[in-house]
């Protein structure tokens, strides 16, 4: 096939990009070369619209071993232990084919983690669907949940936490973000940088098929009516092979034969080989006839662009081939020497004794396009004027019941019961809490992980929203008694070519940067997913933040269930009754305008650190951060989990009852303390200038609100638990 401008356009390249390719090569590329360029230069692989802005993110810290730029980030958790972790999107494929899309998303992120030598110890996910009324939502939700479970369960890695939301902006473009944590010895971390000349380049894992060709390009374009035609671009996952690949790789890694290793993810053999060569400042020569293929007569173009799953590329030390092959034979996996490292600094491909491509590596990587897209700054919306009378007419209990059964607040047990969350025998906090927690096997340490996003806040004001998500992650870790260490982010946005969507991206990133800098909570890995839109309408900006924290002694972990009758419940952090953009305003008043709650980073840090101090002193019996639905929703969830009630009283403030109970002011936690320790706790809070209110005393099984209304916890549980079960069984 002859290459011309039209062919390049059909590959998703822009006119000027094609011109640049011809200029860099000083000739017209052939079809294989064009395929390679289109795979490397698309948004998904090149970060051409986001690179400029991602540079602002703080990525360094005392505990950071590896920041962005590798397969995953790595942090130090002491005693020669390190945690490798990353979150990644698989949005577009999951909308086209929910089971396989979600499954391969989980498979891909686990490979990123074990490529670095770490055994995966926990999975998380953040999944977002259209409105429950949308006719596609139910099937997409079921397919995605089955896909995540299908892959993670088979791998034997527990899925310990997650987040699910519904919003009509995802009607035509759902989000599936998968996150994995792995455990590695600090001195046994593997990197993708190739080194040394004439070293064998090895292909291991599954055979290459025609699936997923141009998957990365598909993920870099918007959806339209022809979406169904893109089904063949979705990869098909085989978790069984990945489990074998995991064990085989870890077995090989126990020795000293690997120079570098890289999984074949987006853009398959193309990006993995180029990545290794580029980082090592080398060339790589590949004989494509040596690549194990599943189908006959595959062309060089297809082999290079296939996104078949469960494959790895390894550069080995000379002479170690036999020893390595034995391991892969034992696990029944393909093993093929397909090429070698060279000094040419080019990617050179051979097929049937002919050179079919020759591209200088730097043209694909350093010279890839980078755009400073136009973007529009968002204004802070004006506060709504909500009439006090309107609020006074509402009954707190009625509102509470509606909010507890709201799709975005209700229990997600239907989902996480389908994920094996206990395999590996170290899950000490299951899904449904503020963070999932797993022990570091055989030690007293435990790692807490949570994943968060607040699209509504980000949509209302991206800068504030960006900060808020980081703070929420910080709080979720602290609530279980973990010291926050670092984050990974998955930035899901609309088209970067739309000024407003690009503005949302730029300002969310700015917000994330400010918060993570201030909280010393650096970003060590992540990915960007643009073009999450159908036709011209982008999704609400949805950065997902995955946070990691450490609990030094797992016996000191905190859970959110109320523990003991007679104990006192406090809310720490100040309540001013911010109603705009709250779930109350949006779902009860049907008011969608106004600014999100403000973020005060000083308070956030101070309150969080003070709470950790209280936890260290063993003063906290249970804790939960206040988020969607405000104080009363948070307290209700603690009651439900602990099967206890509370006599809840609003302190005598000027603000209205509804504002107090449902306002979504930030930087707050609900905590349970014993009567005996109350004075000591109040002393510490006062000393650190942390505001708090006493909310009430724990009782057997009823929620009393200001001594006027009461409801049993069982009834609240029913409201909270049933919505999703009913919805899925209809």
């Amino acid at each position: 096939m002859l290459v011309n401008e039209q062919v390049a356009l059909d590959h998703g390249l822009k006119k000027d990009e094609y011109a640049k390719i011809c200029e860099l090569l000083k000739r017209t590329p052939n079809i294989t070369e064009l395929g390679v360029f289109s795979a490397m230069w698309n948004e998904h692989c090149s970060y051409k619209s986001s690179r400029l802005h991602l540079k602002k993110l703080p990525t360094k810290g005392k505990q950071v071993i590896q920041g962005p730029g590798e397969n995953a980030g790595v942090i130090d958790i002491g005693d020669n232990d390190a945690i490798v972790f990353k979150i990644e999107s698989h949005n577009h494929p999951s909308f086209i084919e929910p089971y396989q899309g979600a499954a391969t998303g989980v498979g891909g992120i686990m490979r990123d983690v074990f490529t670095m030598g770490a055994r995966p110890i926990a999975n998380l996910n953040s999944i977002h669907f259209g409105s429950p009324q949308n006719k596609k939502t139910k099937n997409l939700l079921r397919g995605v949940v089955h896909g995540i479970g299908g892959y993670g369960n088979c791998m034997g890695v527990p899925t310990i936490a997650g987040q699910t939301s519904f919003d009509s902006s995802y009607n035509g473009n759902i989000l599936v973000n998968a996150m994995t944590l792995g455990l590695v010895k600090k001195d046994k971390i593997f990197y993708s940088k190739a080194a040394g000349l004439n070293k064998p380049v090895i292909y291991v894992g599954s055979k290459t098929g025609r699936d997923g060709i141009h998957g990365a390009s598909m993920a870099s374009a918007s959806f339209d009516e022809k979406i169904e035609e893109k089904k063949p671009t979705v990869q098909v996952g085989d978790p069984f092979t990945e489990k074998l690949l995991l064990e085989a790789c870890l077995e090989l890694m126990a020795g000293d034969s690997i120079i570098s290793i890289q999984d074949m993810g987006a853009a398959g053999l193309t990006s993995s080989s180029i990545e290794m060569a580029s980082k090592g400042n080398l060339g790589i020569e590949i004989n494509l006839n040596k690549v194990p293929c599943r189908e006959s007569k595959m062309t060089p173009y297809e082999i290079m662009l296939s996104e078949s799953q469960e494959r790895m590329l390894i550069v080995l030390e000379n002479g170690k081939e036999e020893q390595a092959k034995k391991i892969f034979d034992k696990w029944n996996l393909d093993f093929a020497v397909i090429g070698k490292t060279t000094k040419s600094k080019k990617i050179e491909l051979y097929f049937n004794d002919e050179k079919v491509a020759s591209i200088p590596v730097n043209t694909l990587v350093e010279n890839s396009p980078m755009y400073d897209r136009k973007w529009k700054k968002a204004k802070l919306p004006k506060k709504n004027k909500i009439k006090k009378e309107e609020l006074n007419n509402l009954k707190v209990l009625n509102v509470l019941k509606k909010i507890l059964s709201n799709p975005n607040v209700c229990s997600k047990e239907w989902i996480w019961q389908q994920y094996d969350h206990t395999v590996m025998g170290d899950t000490i906090q299951k899904p449904g809490g503020d963070s999932g927690v797993v022990r570091v096997h055989g030690t007293n340490k435990a790692v807490a992980a949570s994943v968060d996003s607040s699209a509504v806040y980000c949509w209302a004001h991206p800068l504030t929203g960006g900060k808020q998500v980081v703070c929420e992650s910080f709080r979720n870790l602290i609530s279980v008694g973990a010291k926050p260490i670092a984050i990974t982010n998955c930035l899901n946005f609309g088209s970067p070519e739309n000024e407003e969507n690009m503005g949302e991206f730029v300002e969310c990133v700015q917000g994330i940067s400010e918060a993570s800098e201030y909280l010393k909570f650096p970003v060590v890995s992540g990915n960007v997913s643009f073009y999450n839109q159908t036709k011209d309408i982008g999704i609400k900006p949805t950065p997902s933040i995955g946070g990691i924290g450490l609990i030094k002694d797992y016996k000191n972990m905190i859970t959110m269930d109320l523990k003991e009758i007679g104990n006192i419940v406090l809310v720490i952090g100040k309540t001013e009754g911010h109603i705009d953009q709250s779930i109350f305003a949006r779902s009860i008043l049907d008011e969608k305008n106004g600014p999100p709650p403000e973020i005060n980073l000083f308070n956030e840090k101070n309150i969080g650190e003070t709470l950790l101090k209280l936890i260290d002193n063993n003063f906290i019996k249970s804790a939960h951060d206040v988020s969607l639905g405000g104080i009363i929703t948070a307290v209700s969830k603690m009651c439900i989990k602990g099967n206890k009630g509370i006599n809840l009283k609003k302190p005598k403030f000027l603000i209205n009852e509804i504002e107090y109970f449902f306002g979504e002011d930030q930087g707050r936690y609900i905590v349970e303390v014993t009567k005996k320790n109350l004075t000591k706790v109040m002393d510490i809070l006062n000393k650190n200038a942390v505001h708090f209110d006493e909310l009430g005393v724990i009782n057997e099984n009823e929620l009393y609100i200001n001594e006027k209304t009461k409801v049993t916890i069982d009834e609240l549980k029913t409201y909270n638990k049933n919505w999703l079960i009913d919805y899925m069984s209809k």
């Binding site: 034997g156 074998l244 025998g425």
Partner: protein, 227 residues
């Protein structure tokens, strides 16, 4: 006491079982599916997981692997064998225990704590255990136990039902059946009661920080019975 845990390609609860057995005093060895001979063992465990990816039928390919000949001989000589979850599926597929395991009734993988009532204590596994009800943990997609009416009669006549799903008080009712198993069956023995196949994972219940401690009770009792 010596135990052997078999690792098949795709097994993923083998390590957890190893940890549990060692914790309660077994000298455990991990045995590769391709080996021909079992080492001398007082107990053999087929662990949970997705042997051969659950392809064809859960447990069917593993039941044909090399080591299984030796396992079957061990069974015939009266050796104790536990199959948990996928291990239970392998036992069923090898014909070492009767019946089959179908897909869960609601067609969904299910991971949660359940209660099981011990039906028969006249065997090495449950003899001397004080409790009648244990809190165990399940995590499976194909745990819906089924057999023919004739088989069921035989199983019941021989008192081969080991444990049934129930509530905290030990009531065996439909509403406490998580997967649609016939008669709420969660685990069964072979006729001789030296082989136990069960869906619940006792190895995930061996620490108060995990899902619970009734697994500890099970393993402690087992090793005491073997001494």
């Amino acid at each position: 006491m010596k135990s052997s845990v078999i690792t098949f390609p795709g097994s993923n609860c083998d390590r957890d079982m190893d940890v549990a057995l060692k914790k309660f005093g077994f000298k455990n060895k991990m045995i590769w599916h391709d080996d021909l001979e079992l080492p001398k063992s007082d107990l053999v465990v087929l662990p949970g997981g997705f042997s051969y990816g659950d392809y064809l039928r859960c447990g069917s390919m593993a039941s044909k692997s090399k080591i299984m000949k030796s396992v079957i001989n061990f069974a015939k000589s009266g050796g104790l064998i536990i199959g948990v979850c996928n291990g239970f599926q392998i036992l069923v597929e090898s014909g070492l225990v009767p019946g089959v395991l179908l897909r869960n009734k609601y067609l969904e993988f299910i991971c949660k704590n359940v209660f099981v009532k011990i039906n028969n204590k006249q065997n090495s596994y449950f003899k001397n255990i004080n409790n009648n009800v244990l809190e165990f943990h399940i995590a499976h997609n194909e745990g819906n136990y089924f057999c023919t009416d004739d088989q069921l009669k035989e199983i019941e006549d021989n008192e081969q039902v080991a444990i049934n799903y129930c509530n905290k008080e030990g009531r065996i009712e439909d509403q406490f059946n998580p997967n649609g198993s016939i008669k709420n069956i969660a685990g069964i023995f072979n006729k001789e009661k030296n082989i136990l196949g069960m869906m619940p994972h006792p190895e995930r219940m061996i620490d108060p920080s995990l899902s619970g401690e009734d697994g500890s009770l099970f393993f402690k009792n087992l090793i005491n019975n073997l001494k």
